[in-house]
């Protein structure tokens, strides 16, 4: 008997219309847990590295986390893995919501799509009955609209839907997969779904998910709930409000946006507005949010109310998450009313709320600079807000300049030429980043930005405070109940960390300390991503309810897989290394591992080199970032070494990496 997981994947070949329920190997659960871990194993085994993202041979995997569907609070994530048309690397975007538990209750751990459907279809999974159905009537429909139509059509109000909008159908490189409350947005996975001709996947499940040691598991769940209660009543002092509590940043609750609006960049990640926030704006924005926000809402089995239903005047209701609240507002140098309004269109079209606003601001910057001209924007309105709506529409439809912009700033700049490359300045590995430009290099963030393969900082950072506290007393108070640390040394790192002087950034934390800290941060995110746990209750906030000390117990009692801290750390390292191996096999090397040039004003090239050298070594990778034979052997990944050997990867004779290619075939 399998516990926590169902032990079955649903394999759907869209070219042939074949559907199979396939039993999985329980040994893979021990080695790679589930979710991201087992997704990575499938991608390594079944998708050769030369596969184009828009090839029928590319897989699109919807993986549930190992503990999704159990009573573990906040464990509801779907991990979507494929190859990204934008980065050409492995994309693994994730979403909370309700879909993953529903799939588990229907009897499957993953849905694996391969091939391409000749017509637009949707997939209807109703327990054991799975059908591929015609979706001609849904063509061009919004993502939220599609979900509503399908629930009515199928007369299944309790079913859960993932869907793409027009952007996904048109293979926009930053198209998202939307799920009402949540979306998997990064890396253009919505474009892959569109390329496969799948408009939506609807799931309804009424089966049991079993746990191995029931009483023990429930006791652990109850402890977590109690600790969430405690943390809600006792916010961490000395940090900004969004870091004081649990949950993903509580954007929908917060009216005071001084911190974001004055520290993050406006426009095409260009302008910092240090005196932006004032009483008048606070009053206006509060009124806007209070008028449009209907209700704070949560994902499956989670009390954190991180999202909200938003009803902009004259538009249909949608559900907003996290920082999408401000990205459109700030890219357009506009106000919150505009931001909440255009986000409704963007959600229906299904685009990533980090990339899309920056792409539009980038286009208008090129227009101002004369690189793009009136000819490129026929019929564009004169007003700023109108232009953003116009551009969003062109991008989702891939019309005119929108067809170029739909490839994201990196590829669009290369297509446009005439110096446009300099305007695509906020990318890592060809992917638009959080609009943030800072003064002094932060060595911890340098490593995370450079080596993170989620290519998205908010899903890598966490646990360790972002900045030192001013006084020794505050620091001592902070570490007092900091039991989540994997090792006592982290407390000392933090206690000694000063704002100024010898023990301040960029030389403190020291290089080896930075390696420890980043490794811990990354490890916790990777564990979350395999278990399906929301980062908002685990790897992202300070002092979370889930941590390295209780996770092994959750896995043992839940999945019946014997686990301790060392074994869990090793498992996370194993599939983290496998993700790297997948990307290495696709040509990723040290040259790709760098934050945007202008991310910090003051850079320290020698220190940065030392950081990267030391971290690579610490992780068991060579100086190109390629996992070494010894480290692969230690992780039981000899099959990766063999493959590397056959391809000449990591050898001294390794030639120059393969040339970049666009996925636009």
């Amino acid at each position: 008997m399998r516990y926590a997981e169902t032990g079955f994947n649903l394999e759907i070949d869209l070219s042939r219309g074949n559907i199979e329920r396939v039993e999985t190997d329980p040994r893979d659960t021990e080695l790679y847990l589930g979710g991201l871990g087992t997704n990575a194993k499938i991608l390594w085994d079944r998708v050769p590295p030369e596969t184009e993202p828009f090839s029928p041979d590319n897989l699109l995997i919807f993986g549930t986390g190992l503990l999704c569907g159990t009573p573990a609070t906040g464990c509801n994530r779907t991990i979507v893995s494929t190859f990204s048309p934008q980065t050409q690397l492995m994309a693994y975007s994730m979403m909370g919501g309700f879909w993953a538990p529903e799939l588990k209750y229907a009897g499957y751990d993953k849905v694996i799509l391969r091939g391409k459907s000749p017509q637009l279809v949707y997939i209807w999974i109703n327990n054991d009955k799975v059908e591929i159905r015609d979706a001609a009537h849904l063509q061009g429909k919004g993502a939220v609209e599609t979900a509503e139509i399908l629930l009515q059509e199928l007369k299944e109000p309790k079913a859960q839907v993932v869907a793409i909008g027009l952007a996904g159908e048109n293979r926009v490189y930053f198209a998202s997969i939307e799920q009402g409350r949540s979306s998997a947005s990064r890396g253009g996975i919505g474009a892959v779904m569109g390329d496969k001709g799948v408009k939506a996947i609807v799931v309804r499940g009424t089966k049991d998910i079993n746990v191995a040691r029931p009483a023990e598991f429930m006791e652990l769940c109850t402890e977590v709930l109690q600790y969430i209660k405690f943390r809600n009543e006792n916010p961490v002092p000395g940090v900004m409000p969004i870091l004081a509590g649990l949950g993903s940043p509580q954007e929908m609750k917060v009216h005071d946006e001084k911190w974001h609006t004055e520290n993050f960049m406006w426009g095409n990640s260009r302008t910092r507005r240090k005196d932006f926030w004032n009483e008048e704006i606070a009053r206006q924005w509060t009124e806007t949010l209070d008028t449009m926000r209907r209700r704070l809402i949560s994902c499956f089995n989670c009390p954190m109310t991180c999202g909200a239903t938003i009803q902009p005047p004259g538009r249909s209701t949608y559900m907003m998450k996290c920082f999408s609240k401000l990205t459109y507002t700030m890219a357009a140098m506009s106000d919150l009313e505009f931001g909440l309004g255009i986000a409704q269109s963007a959600t229906e079209y299904g685009v990533d709320a980090f990339s899309a606003p920056q792409v539009m601001a980038f286009a208008l910057e090129l227009y101002e600079a004369g690189i793009l001209t009136d000819q490129d924007f026929p019929g564009m309105p004169a007003d700023n807000e109108g232009r953003f709506y116009w551009l969003l529409d062109r991008i989702a439809r891939r019309e005119g300049i929108g067809d170029v912009l739909a490839n994201g700033t990196y590829w669009a700049a290369r297509q446009i030429g005439k110096g446009a490359e300099a305007y695509a300045h906020n990318n890592i590995k060809k992917h638009e980043q959080l609009p943030l430009k800072l003064s002094m290099l932060n060595p911890i963030y340098f490593l995370m930005y450079a080596t993170g393969e989620k290519i998205n900082i908010t899903q890598i950072e966490g646990q360790f405070p972002q900045a030192p506290f001013a006084t020794k007393e505050e620091r001592e108070a902070f570490v007092e109940d900091w039991f989540q640390v994997p090792d006592e040394k982290f407390k000392q790192y933090f206690l000694d960390w000063e704002i100024r002087g010898e023990k301040s950034m960029p030389y403190y934390p020291t290089v080896p300390m930075c390696c420890d800290i980043v490794d811990w941060q990354e490890r916790m995110h990777y564990i979350d991503d395999a278990l399906g746990m929301c980062a908002g209750l685990s790897s992202f906030p300070l002092k979370p309810p889930y941590h390295i000390h209780n996770y092994p117990k959750f896995i043992s009692a839940g999945a019946g897989v014997d686990m301790d801290e060392a074994k869990l750390t090793q498992a996370a390292k194993r599939y983290r290394t496998l993700v790297r191996a997948i990307n290495i096999r696709r040509g990723m090397r040290r040259k790709d591992e760098k934050p945007p040039e202008d991310h910090w004003k003051k850079r320290f090239p020698e220190l940065e080199k030392e950081l990267l050298d030391t971290y690579y070594n610490f992780k068991g990778w060579n100086n190109q970032g390629i996992p070494t034979e010894e480290s692969l052997h230690e992780l039981g990944l000899d099959y990766v070494s063999e493959d590397f050997g056959q391809r000449g990867i990591g050898s001294d004779q390794e030639g120059t990496p393969a040339e970049e290619t666009s996925a636009d075939t």
């Binding site: 499940g205 089966k207 989670c302």
Partner: protein, 179 residues
């Protein structure tokens, strides 16, 4: 007439304005009622379900009550604060007109038992936003004199066929027995 007595009434107060639709109540309920306890999880077996239509801003946790053998003859709509609710959204019955509150395997009806034996129902314990709160209150009730089974049966027959026909039938049968 029976005598007056104080009775403890268990109540779950549902504040639909506070519900944020996470369905933790369903999770806790189905785990608690699994056999062995907590061994499995399946919201379809839960005795509380959240009627949830996020786009319409409808969130109603509703509890399983008595089993109704027949469908309602008509179903009404309620408009509250501009939102249209189906009457079923507030109905506790497991009935032929919907799949709510039935064991998914056997189709047998489910009924909330307030988590007998626990200090408060688990759905309440798991609802950290206080959409569900537990209240016990004392109520004065008239202790009914319990009718015997035969009497209950007779009453039903009288309801259905009328006293006269029942009496006739009883008389006829007793005659034929003696016969």
């Amino acid at each position: 007439m029976g005598e007056k007595k104080m009775k403890k009434v268990k109540t779950i107060k549902v504040d639909v304005d506070k519900c944020h639709g996470c369905r933790a109540c369903e999770v806790a309920c189905s785990a608690f009622h699994a056999a062995p306890q907590y061994s499995s999880n399946n919201p379809a077996r839960s005795r509380v379900r959240v009627i949830r239509e996020p786009i319409k801003d409808i969130y109603v946790p509703v509890y399983a009550g008595e089993n109704a053998k027949a469908e309602c003859m008509g179903r009404d709509k309620y408009v509250i604060d501009g939102k249209e609710y189906d009457e079923c959204a507030f109905c506790r019955a497991s009935c032929p007109s919907r799949d709510l509150f039935k064991e998914p395997d056997s189709g047998l009806p489910l009924k909330c038992d307030m988590c007998e034996g626990e200090e408060e129902p688990l759905c309440v314990k798991w609802c950290l936003v206080d959409a569900l709160t537990y209240e016990e209150r004392e109520e004065e009730v008239e202790e009914e004199v319990k009718p015997e089974d035969v009497e209950i049966g007779l009453e039903a027959l009288v309801d259905k066929y009328g006293l006269e026909q029942v009496m006739d039938t009883v008389a006829r049968r007793s005659l034929s027995k003696k016969g």
